[in-house]
Each structure stands twice: as structure tokens, then as C-alpha cells.
């Protein structure tokens, strides 16, 4: 097996006295789509943010293509090929779509901005229609598309997505996952954190299930979808 693009080794993260992540081990291979599912408060978002060093890991290692980035600053991580679309979208409300996308180029400089922006408009035609509109005035789904596109503007090798389906209508969720599938097919490595286990696991090559800060289960997408425990806990017995 080749070297994984991202590897977490025995990662411990604390919020004050509370341990949010307990000895988390996780691997993502280049070109894979991996999802992490779990209930509220399981530590999914914490795991994503700790890859960016906020909060910092108390123990363990985060290896990105063989380099230890555990103690590196957020902007170092961002400018070396990891991009994140944070939970709750967090687009810049007073900036236009184009400006939001330009903000995404900050870690790498804007020499490819024009070209990449066109690529984003192809990926999300809705954004093109609204290119000069303020992000605040757009619907939740459009904002989510914008957040993903903004993350892609830094030409990442690894895309971290935190709950892209949060608060969106089922049809919009479907659209977004369709786009993610296209992205994955084009070779992008995606690490998806989701509550919507059904969609996430169908999209993914592999999945991890997190409970109370620990990885409880892991396996291929289909395996997990078929797993009795997962079905009961996250799929509502469908």
C-alpha cells in the first residue's frame, strides 16, 4: 500500500479537561473518498479542525503525505494543499460570490484565480448566475456550493468537508452529493464528515464511525451501510 495522503496516529484532543478525541487512528489514501459519520458531539468537527491545528492535538501525530503537521500553523496547512469547507458554511456574507471565491485563493496566491473561477462556475452553474450577488442573499444550498467552491479555489490535494448537507432540503442535498461524486471521479481526495450517513456512505469508498471521540467501526461504504449497528443508529432502520 502506498503512503497515505493523510494519516492520524493515536490523536488525543482536549477542550480544557474534556477529552474530545481519544486515540483516533485514521488513514486516507490519495484519490479516495472517505467519510466519517457519527452523532452530534461525537467529535467529528473537532477532528477536522484539529487537522488545521485548532484545537491543537495534545498527543499523537497528524501526517500529511509523510510530513508531520501536528504542530504546524493553520495557514501552513492551508497553503500546502488541504482545504476545508467549515461546518455551517461560513461564507463571507458581505462579499460577492466572486470575492468569496477569491478569498479561497489566499493560501496560494491568485495567479490561477481567473481560470479556477471558471472551473468552479462549470462545477456549480448556479454560482455563475449569482457571481456579483452578496453571499448573504443566497439560499442555503447556494451558500454551501459557494463554501465548497471556495475551498477548491486553493487547489487542494485533500478536501475536507464538514457537514455539507446541514440544514438543506433533500433535493439540494442530492445535488450537492452529485457534484461531490463528480469531484471524486475527477481524482480529488475527499474527507467527508456527515450526519447524513446514507448519502455519505454511498458516496464513499470507505467510512469510519465515530462514537464519543473514538473510532468505533470502519470499513468500506457498503459494509457500513449493511452493518446492523450503523443501520440502527444512523439510518433509522431504512
Amino acid at each position: 500500500m502506498s503512503q497515505p495522503i493523510l494519516e492520524l496516529k493515536d490523536l488525543d484532543v482536549f477542550y480544557g479537561p474534556i477529552q474530545a478525541l481519544k486515540k483516533v487512528n485514521l488513514q486516507i489514501q490519495e484519490g479516495e473518498t472517505v467519510s466519517l459519520i457519527g452523532a452530534n458531539g461525537a467529535g467529528k468537527s473537532t477532528l477536522l479542525m484539529s487537522i488545521f491545528g485548532q484545537p491543537r492535538a495534545a498527543a499523537g501525530q497528524i501526517l500529511y503525505r509523510g510530513t508531520d503537521i501536528t504542530q504546524k500553523s493553520s495557514h501552513f496547512v492551508a497553503s500546502n494543499g488541504i482545504a476545508q469547507s467549515p461546518e455551517g458554511r461560513r461564507v463571507f456574507p458581505d462579499m460577492s460570490v466572486e470575492e468569496n471565491l477569491l478569498m479561497g485563493t489566499i493560501p496560494v496566491g491568485d495567479q490561477h484565480a481567473e481560470q479556477d473561477m471558471q472551473a468552479m462556475f462549470e462545477l456549480f452553474p448556479r454560482l455563475k448566475e449569482r457571481r456579483n450577488q452578496r453571499a448573504m442573499t443566497m439560499s442555503g444550498g447556494e451558500q454551501q456550493m459557494l463554501a465548497i467552491a471556495r475551498a477548491l479555489m486553493s487547489r487542494p490535494k485533500l478536501l475536507l468537508l464538514d457537514e455539507p448537507s446541514l440544514g438543506l432540503a433533500p433535493i439540494v442535498v442530492k445535488q450537492i452529493f452529485q457534484t461531490l461524486r463528480e469531484l471524486a471521479r475527477s481524482g480529488m481526495t475527499i474527507f467527508l464528515v456527515e450526519q447524513n450517513a446514507n448519502h455519505a456512505l454511498r458516496l464513499s469508498n470507505r467510512g469510519y464511525v465515530m462514537v464519543n471521540g473514538e473510532i468505533r467501526l470502519s470499513g468500506s461504504g457498503e459494509e457500513l451501510l449493511g452493518n446492523e449497528e450503523v443501520r440502527k443508529a444512523y439510518l433509522g432502520g431504512h
Binding site: 493553520s74 495557514h75 467549515p86 461560513r90 462579499m95 477569491l102 495567479q111 484565480a113
Partner: protein, 428 residues
């Protein structure tokens, strides 16, 4: 038919009610102020004056109320209601009408001092100093969204920089000007570091403390700063030529060198022109900065700090740069203030001053350059020109602020800027 339509459109009863309400408020406000006149130790009641005032207010309110029911009035009302929130983003290619007005304004500003009286000149200098302060604080508060209540500290550093530089190092106006900007920027960086993790109210308290520390040091370090007695500041010179009637140490004063008649305005004329150039320069630099990545980063930080971090924006650098650039502008303003007054003491750098500068930024519209320039003049020049109402100055501020919060919660001038367009790709 048309008359019934008109009467439907004009709700006279509503206007009457409005007028009566306004009259009541006017009675409360003007009753004690206009109606009671102190005559020696006795009160002189003047009900007719009150009645006239209230009558004028009621009539005005009635007419206004009727006017606001006409289509035109309704349009104006709608304009007030759709202030919306946030920044208005225009098309990237949009060109402001200001580009016609601006050269005209610059020409007027350049010609104006040669016709103005000394008094008017000094008032406008004060206005320009506050423009500078407002522009600086606008970067910190308006763009980066960091509420700074101790901004006056940097202003003091600039002003005392000139006084102390002259006293201890023999530096003059010109050498201190860049040095003061640097010193203030350093102080801004110094303040910036400990407050990097703070937001909102906490940040405001810490910066407020910083402002007070600087003022108290200036007040109490008698041996170094002269304490409350203040320090004198040298008059500025033009290439070493003094503006006084007779130069010290046998030098040649400005007017003799150029063979023109002596004019007591020379010093202020000089300060005015240099100040105007600096203000124009700062305006230009600020305009460019807001279009640069760092300007966008400031605005991004104001809008969503977590998103900034998630995108790997170096928030340390972004915050510090906002603090330092804002502070250096205040340092410049301080130097001008000191040489304009010819004297500095800690009383000029109280919290009220910080509040005034903040009021300029808020009144002008957070982040709006034109608004800040206008507001700086409104809040500094107007009280000077209305000297006879000087005691009501703070009251005027209060009323202005309340009115603004009702009608223009985002400031006099709506913040709008051109959208940014990506550069054409440069080969990697």
C-alpha cells in the same frame, strides 16, 4: 373622483396626531430651555416664546407628515427602510461620480486657504486632523471590525513624539513626521499582540485600558513629559526657514527669504497644505489597501473569523497589520495636532477624544471613506462654527446619534465598494 382619491391618500387625522405628539415633545424639550429665562436671581417665564416654538414644530410636523404621504414622500420613506445591512457590492466596472467631484474638491481645497481668515483656517485644520484620525480608526473598526476605544493613545504618541523629539533629540517637524508614524505603528503592534485572541467587548475594554495607561503615564511622568503642565512644541519650518516675524539666532524668516510681506497665517497655511497632502496620500493608500488581498482579509476577518481560520488565513498578521496601519495614521495626526497647537498636554488625549473619533467612524458609516471624511467635518467643524451653542455640543452628538440609529443604522453613507475581479492568470 380625484378628490376622494386624494383624501384617501392623505390621512389628515394621522398627520394631526403626529403634529400633536411632536408638539408635546417640543413642550417638554423647549419648555425649560426657552420658556424660563434667568434674570439675576429671578426666573422670567416667557410662555409666548414657548408657544411660538411649539407652533412652529407642530406646523412643521404636520406638513412633513402630509408630505410623507405623497408618492415622493413615500419613496423617501422607503429609501430609509431599505437600508438593509451590510456592504453594497457594485459591479466591478462601476465608476463612481466622485471621479468628477474629487479633482474639483482638491482644487478648492488648495485655493481655499489663501482667501480664508486665520480662524477659519485653524478650524479646517482641526477638521482635517480628525479626518486623518477617522480614516485610521476606520481601518481598525470599520474594516477589520476590531473595536478600539483607546485609539487616542496613538494620537498622543504622535503629538508627544514631536514634543519629546524636539526637547531631547533636537528633531524637527519633518524628521518626526515619519518617526511618529513608525512609533505609533510599533505601539499598535505592541497593543495588538496581547489582544489577538479577544473579540468585541473584551477587546474594547483592553484597548480602553491601553489608552488610559498612555494618558496616565504622560500625566504622571513629570521629569520626562512635564506632566499636566505639558510641553511646548517647535513651530514647523520650511526647509529651515521659520514662519515667525523674526527668525531666531539671526536666521532668515520665510517671508524675507521670498521677499513677501509678513503674514501671521504663514504657519497655519503651511500646516494646512502639508496636512492636506498627507490626507490625500492616506486616502489614496487606504483606497489601494482595500483592494489588495490584505484589505479583503480585513473585511473577511470582520465578517467571519472562524471562516478565516478554516481557510488558513494568518489572522495574527491580518489583525496586527490593521492595528499598526491604523495606529500610524493616528501618529501622523498627532504630529500635526502638536505643531498646530504649539503645545501638548495630557488633557487633549482623554477618553472623550477616543469616543469622538469612534463617533466619526460610526456616524460616517463603518468602512466608508467618504462618510468618514464628511462625518469628521460635521463633528469637528460644526461645533466650532456654532460656538454660541458650544455647551450643547455633546447634546448635539447625542441627538445626532439617536437620529442616526433610527434612520441610518449603518452610517451616513452606505458602505459600498466595487466588486473585485480576478486578475488575468499569470503563467506560474
Amino acid at each position: 373622483m380625484s378628490s376622494t382619491l386624494a383624501s384617501k391618500r392623505f390621512d389628515v387625522k394621522k398627520s394631526l396626531v403626529d403634529a400633536v405628539l411632536a408638539g408635546l415633545i417640543a413642550l417638554i424639550v423647549f419648555g425649560p430651555i426657552v420658556g424660563v429665562v434667568l434674570d439675576g436671581y429671578a426666573f422670567n417665564l416667557q410662555p409666548d416664546r414657548v408657544a411660538a416654538m411649539i407652533g412652529a414644530v407642530m406646523l412643521g410636523r404636520f406638513v412633513l407628515s402630509l408630505f410623507l404621504q405623497t408618492p415622493r414622500g413615500l419613496a423617501i420613506l422607503a429609501g430609509f427602510e431599505t437600508v438593509g445591512s451590510g456592504v453594497h457590492v457594485r459591479d466591478p466596472g462601476y465608476q463612481s461620480h466622485l471621479r468628477w467631484v474629487l479633482p474639483l474638491l482638491v482644487v478648492v481645497a488648495l485655493v481655499f486657504p489663501f482667501f480664508a481668515s486665520k480662524y477659519l483656517l485653524t478650524v479646517v485644520i482641526l477638521g482635517l486632523i480628525y479626518v486623518l484620525l477617522g480614516l485610521g480608526l476606520n481601518i481598525v473598526v470599520g474594516l477589520a471590525g476590531l473595536l478600539d476605544l483607546g485609539y487616542v493613545a496613538f494620537y498622543a504618541i504622535g503629538a508627544y513624539g514631536l514634543a519629546l523629539g524636539y526637547e531631547h533629540l533636537g528633531l524637527g517637524f519633518w524628521s518626526v513626521l515619519p518617526l511618529a508614524a513608525l512609533a505609533a505603528a510599533l505601539a499598535g503592534g505592541l497593543l495588538g499582540f496581547p489582544v489577538l485572541r479577544m473579540h468585541g467587548d473584551y477587546l474594547a475594554i483592553v484597548t480602553l485600558g491601553f489608552g488610559e495607561i498612555i494618558r496616565l503615564v504622560l500625566n504622571n511622568w513629570l521629569a520626562f513629559t512635564g506632566g499636566p503642565n505639558g510641553m511646548s512644541v517647535p513651530a514647523p519650518t520650511f526647509l529651515g526657514l521659520e514662519f515667525s516675524r523674526r527668525a531666531k539666532d539671526g536666521g532668515v524668516p520665510f517671508h524675507e527669504f521670498f521677499g513677501i510681506d509678513y503674514n501671521a497665517n504663514f504657519k497655519f497655511l503651511f500646516i494646512y497644505l502639508v496636512l492636506l497632502l498627507v490626507v490625500l496620500l492616506v486616502l489614496y493608500v487606504k483606497n489601494r489597501l482595500t483592494r489588495m488581498p490584505v484589505g479583503r482579509a480585513w473585511e473577511a476577518l470582520r465578517e467571519d473569523e472562524i471562516a478565516c481560520r478554516a481557510m488558513g488565513l494568518n489572522h495574527v498578521l491580518v489583525k496586527l497589520s490593521a492595528f499598526m496601519i491604523g495606529a500610524s495614521t493616528a501618529g501622523l495626526a498627532g504630529v500635526f495636532f502638536a505643531s498646530y497647537q504649539g503645545f501638548v498636554n495630557p488633557a487633549s488625549f482623554t477618553f472623550f477624544e477616543s469616543a469622538l473619533i469612534l463617533a466619526i467612524v460610526v456616524l460616517g458609516g463603518m468602512g466608508s471613506t467618504v462618510g468618514v471624511v464628511l462625518a469628521a467635518f460635521v463633528l469637528t467643524v460644526a461645533p466650532e462654527l456654532l460656538r454660541s451653542f458650544a455647551e450643547y455640543r455633546v447634546l448635539l452628538f447625542g441627538v445626532l446619534m439617536v437620529l442616526m440609529m433610527i434612520w441610518r443604522p449603518r452610517g451616513l453613507i452606505r458602505v459600498s465598494r466595487n466588486g473585485v475581479q480576478p486578475r488575468q492568470g499569470v503563467a506560474p
